[in-house]
Point group: C2
Chain length 247, copies 2
């Protein structure tokens, strides 16, 4: 670790987490901390910026920074894979492929994956478990160019994201998630052990590489009660919203 601003952010995160700076307390000023760590104010501001984007601290011009929360939220903002997310919460993730077959992309799929209509894609239906209980049914469409790598994975692959990274260096670095609620269909009901028509949380997502190349698009349905999505945010985290609310 040679990046000073990350070191400092880590240290502050730890100090906040262990209660050295309780929620509501004011942090030392930039100049003090910069001097204490032997870095310039700019580097320290970079570290503060990281914590701010995590929702741990808030700031106002003129006043000292304030601790808003003790632990970073385990939210989308980290774009975790299901497996990473599960383990971060101390649960054991599992999974199994129910079906996988190649086919031609529909117009909608092609548009989302930036392919030509009719290009080959890979459809995968996968059930995901947490401590053995089914919680999530994934209907994923992979772009043809990464189908082979996905097919090579074992049926009970624990973390697809991790495995694709290990196998072919593919990094899912960007995603867009749409959330709504839908009634369980016949397949949903059977696989998730719920009654047909009962509410499911649906997350439609498209994941792309760092270059903006779409990798997969998926319709994920979560059984309620077992998984709750958490989003923590603050006006400070986004410069867009920092201004006074407009009329």
């Amino acid at each position: 670790m040679t990046r000073r601003h990350e070191e400092i952010a880590d240290e502050l995160r730890r100090a906040i987490g262990d209660g050295s700076y309780p929620v509501g307390a004011a942090l030392p000023s930039e100049s003090e901390l910069a001097a204490a760590h032997g870095v310039s104010r700019g580097t320290l501001r970079q570290a503060f910026g990281t914590l701010q984007s995590e929702g741990l601290i808030g700031s106002r011009q003129g006043a000292r920074r304030v601790v808003l929360a003790a632990t970073p939220s385990q939210s989308f903002t980290e774009l975790r894979s299901f497996a990473q997310w599960a383990r971060a919460g101390g649960r054991t993730p599992g999974g199994r492929v129910l079906s996988a077959h190649r086919g031609k992309a529909t117009d909608a799929e092609a548009a989302q994956l930036q392919l030509a209509p009719g290009d080959e894609v890979l459809h995968v239906l996968r059930i995901r478990t947490l401590d053995g209980d089914p919680v999530l049914l994934e209907r994923t469409v992979y772009a043809g160019w990464c189908a082979e790598a996905v097919e090579a994975l074992p049926d009970d692959c624990e973390s697809v994201t991790q495995s694709l990274y290990d196998a072919v260096g593919l990094v899912m670095s960007h995603g867009e998630h749409h959330l709504d609620a839908v009634p369980a269909g016949t397949v949903d009901a059977r696989e998730l052990s719920v009654r047909r028509g009962s509410p499911l949380l649906r997350v439609r997502r498209t994941t792309t590489t760092a270059e903006g190349r779409p990798v997969e698009t998926s319709d994920d349905r979560y059984r309620p009660g077992t998984v709750v999505f958490t989003v923590r945010n603050s006006v400070q985290a986004n410069p867009l919203a920092r201004t006074t609310p407009d009329h």
Copy 2:
């Protein structure tokens, strides 16, 4: 607007939005743009940072920045009030208070609002509309210390967040949202014009001031089909996730 970095971010956002830089295209280098705008590289990086946190562009050391998406996501990350969010999407927000009464905080409510059990709180049941259609039923609990300000608001107040800011300078600057799916209850069904038991997207949220003082906690239920929550994210947006995924 005297902040150069915001001006530049706005300009770039517009250029990306109108297709001057299509999705997938590379942007000019920092040095070029800095020279073109007559600012230092630092200021330009600040503007780029804003766009990056919005998910519009991505970057890798050594390569030019790339356009990832054409429109900023209207997501939680901005912690918009319902009214602001609606208007940003070109819709007309509305609303009406169905009932409001003071009461004693339950243990759960007290914990979430950081009050003592039994302290006075204000319960408000509010329906929210978009272009006249009911889309959201809010069950909100306000801490006693801001009850008066809330009661003073008109029944059909369009933006509670805005009004509280105008009236008493209260700024909702931080929030935590929990999302899941629930079946519609009797009241939900009647007010949102759906069948009982049909799926609703539930968002339980707690909002606090910049100092971390909880203002309200709410159970919001959205009628599906009309509102979709969108979260866009990238590993770049959050330094926590920038490292290689761990096993």
